[in-house]
């Protein structure tokens, strides 16, 4: 059975050209780039080239890039640098819909005595800019706000947020792990101080990330050690992976038009087709969104069940349902948006990439209706092709916080 991989926000397939570019560094080009001999020299030259490619993708200077082990490390490094370089400031601003890399740091900081503001979003997942503006104080050390949401693809106005922060002299970090490679990014024209990205979301391997640190910004390293990365991240460089990320960046830059053309068209066609299934809705702002992502709720059926049936038919996707999150509550992103629980439990995220084909979309569109019907036929809330809500099971009989 052929796999139709529609989970590219979770991770992407390593591009064959990326792998090809990496291989010599597992073989003959094994030198340490710091070494003062020819083995080191040839590797150092390749690192320089990789850095140039990544800088070109995000519109910054090569020396503004610090390589890390993943997006999560980049987020950690940004947060802790901002706090350590401004030890008098005890306030952090973030949003309610961040990735766990940010959310769990914020929770930890709260326990350490920091004040944390989590700015909310509206029903379409758009950031409450008024609340954000109100929350900024002279005590604010850092604003860390996601660029593109990993679950819904909704984009936040980082240009505006950057301007607000810069006016007030507040450091602004953005988790752009889902944005880099999918939309044009030109940091030299933005007021962003730090930006996190991760290789495995743009067809490089897992285990390589980078943090953009604006020239002139005070920085305290998260990984304390050697002089690598200009003293901003200790540890001998992960040469093959940095080279792989460089190649992936080069490819991503060249493919941005395709991502925003062909991929967007496939996503839109998939979404339109799925919306023809009754009692179905899109979660998130369809206007201001990544070109590759859609988050769709199929009401009265549960996400994990959908995923297993899809997987059985060869389709890989993900869900914001409680059962798949490992917790017992559905996705914090959908809850922050106020998506009703009845819809959140049946939410499916489909995230495309240039590796997908039109034929795959056709095939997926053929598979989905049967899967949803099969589950609705089992559901106590569905009868004869329509919701059957005359049913005691709709909400529970306690003062349940889930329903309210």
């Amino acid at each position: 059975m052929e796999t139709i991989y529609l989970d590219n926000n979770a991770t992407t397939k390593v591009d064959p050209e990326v792998l090809e570019a990496m291989l010599p560094f597992f073989k003959e080009e094994y030198g340490n780039p710091s070494s003062m001999h020819l083995k080191g020299g040839e590797v150092a030259a390749s690192l320089r080239q990789a850095r140039l490619s990544l800088a070109a993708l995000i519109g910054c200077e090569p020396h503004e890039i610090v390589y890390t082990s993943c997006g999560t490390e980049s987020d950690n490094a940004a947060i802790w640098s901002a706090l350590r370089t401004q030890p008098d400031k005890k306030h952090l601003v973030t949003s309610k819909v961040e990735h766990s890399a940010i959310i769990n740091n914020a929770a930890f900081l709260r326990r350490l005595g920091y004040r944390v503001t989590e700015v909310g979003v509206d029903r379409l997942g758009r950031l409450d800019m008024e609340e954000l503006t109100r929350s900024l104080t002279p005590d604010t050390a850092l604003v860390t706000i996601l660029w593109a949401n990993n679950e819904t693809g909704v984009l936040f106005p980082v240009e505006e947020i950057g301007a607000l922060c810069r006016e007030r002299g507040i450091t602004f970090h953005t988790d752009a792990v889902q944005a880099v490679g999918k939309i044009p990014i030109d940091l030299k024209n933005l007021k962003i101080d730090m930006l996190a990205l991760s290789g495995h979301k743009l067809h490089a391997p897992k285990g390589i990330g980078a943090l953009y640190v604006r020239h002139g910004l005070k920085f305290a390293p998260f990984m304390i050690g050697g002089h690598q990365e200009n003293g901003r991240r200790g540890g001998t460089e992960n040469v093959p992976y940095i080279v792989g990320l460089g190649k992936a960046a080069e490819l991503a830059l060249a493919r941005l038009p395709e991502e925003n053309g062909r991929v967007r068209a496939m996503r839109d066609r998939l979404e339109e087709g799925l919306l023809r299934i009754p009692s179905t809705m899109v979660n998130g702002d369809r206007e201001f969104r990544l070109p590759n992502t859609t988050n769709i709720s199929f009401e009265y059926v549960e996400g994990e069940s959908i995923l297993f049936h899809l997987s059985h038919a060869g389709i890989c996707a993900s869900s914001g349902s409680a059962c798949t999150s490992g917790s017992l509550e559905p996705s914090h992103v959908l809850r922050a948006m106020g998506v009703p629980f009845t819809a959140a439990h049946g939410s499916i995220r489909l995230s495309l990439a240039i590796t997908n084909t039109e034929a795959e979309i056709d095939k997926a569109l053929g598979i989905f209706p049967g899967v949803i019907k099969k589950l609705r036929d089992l559901s106590p809330f569905w009868k004869d092709g329509a919701p059957a809500l005359d049913n005691a099971l709709l909400t529970c009989d306690t003062s349940c916080q889930v329903c309210n």
């Binding site: 009265y300 994990e304 297993f308 059962c323 089992l378 106590p380 049913n391 909400t395 003062s399 349940c400």
Partner: protein, 282 residues
């Protein structure tokens, strides 16, 4: 990815006995759409022999919820009503070759639906919410929790969540779950029922205050801190212990009652069954 057995996947992919029986003699409904899983079980009973002739289900939920429902209907068909009632949630899980621990609540849901359907068949009123609701996120009562702890020999709060979902939402009831668990495991009397067999050991007033202090700082405070709360001992006056409750939980009246209960329970169990806890109004 969950590790489901082939039998779970088989019952999920090819569910048996879907729908509603042609003559409903008993019906049980548990769960809800908003909680993320819901099961409606209907049974048809040969009344002369008290045998379940047919059983059908409708389920909204994850793969293991659907498989557990399907398994349940297969297990009870042909059994007498009494035999069926002997089926435990563990039997349902065993029938499927086991369920991931995090999914055991699906088997509990099946067992509860069966109980409800039989009660309905026997003309008993639908099982009202018995006892106090402990977990308000998922509407789980003290009685249900105690029963599941005993039936499955649970030993940790984490397991209670895996089996009943209680504590899996906001987490405010975790201290209370811990108290219930302690009570069941140590067979301690429940809140307020006093302790007739074991007279409290005689203590000097100073020793007693010291012990109260210790229990609060070593036992109670850490449990509350896990949920972002805290407690401070304000005063001890005879049997009255005055405390200040603080932190994440202190603004919510429902959780306050829960917290006070938890504190009372621990102090009664570890210091003196006659202790009364009062909250200071500072």
């Amino acid at each position: 990815m969950w590790e489901y057995t082939d039998r779970v996947m088989d019952h999920f992919e090819n569910p048996r006995n879907v729908g509603v029986v042609s003559r409903i003699d008993g019906e049980g409904q548990v769960g809800s759409l908003s909680c993320g899983d819901a099961l409606r079980l209907t049974i048809q009973v040969d009344k002369d022999r008290d045998v379940i002739e047919d059983a059908k289900f409708q389920t909204f939920g994850c793969a293991s919820a659907i498989a557990s429902s399907s398994a349940l209907t297969e297990m009870i068909k042909g059994k007498t009503v009494d035999q069926a009632l002997n089926i435990t949630n563990q039997d349902i899980a065993d029938f499927l070759g086991g369920l991931p621990r995090e999914k055991m609540h699906c088997s509990v849901m099946g067992q509860e639906a069966l109980e409800a359907a039989v009660a309905n068949y026997r003309g008993l009123p639908p099982r009202a919410v018995q006892g106090d609701v402990v977990c308000h996120c998922f509407g789980v009562t003290e009685q249900e929790i105690e029963k599941v702890i005993r039936a499955n020999r649970l030993t940790s709060v984490e397991e209670i969540t895996q089996f009943t979902k209680a504590g899996g939402g906001c987490g405010k009831c975790l201290p209370e779950l811990e108290a219930i668990l302690d009570r069941v495991l140590h067979k301690k009397p429940s809140n307020g029922s006093g302790n007739a067999e074991k007279a409290p050991p005689k203590m000097t007033a100073l020793k007693r205050i010291k012990l109260i202090e210790e229990v609060i700082s070593d036992e109670i405070a850490p449990a509350l801190m896990r949920d972002g709360g805290d407690i401070e001992l304000v005063d001890v006056d005879g049997n009255e212990v005055v405390v200040a409750l603080k932190g994440a939980c202190s603004s919510c009246p429902a959780s306050k009652r829960t917290l006070a209960d938890f504190v009372t329970d621990r102090l009664r169990a570890l210091v003196d069954p006659n202790i009364v806890v009062r909250e200071s109004r500072s």
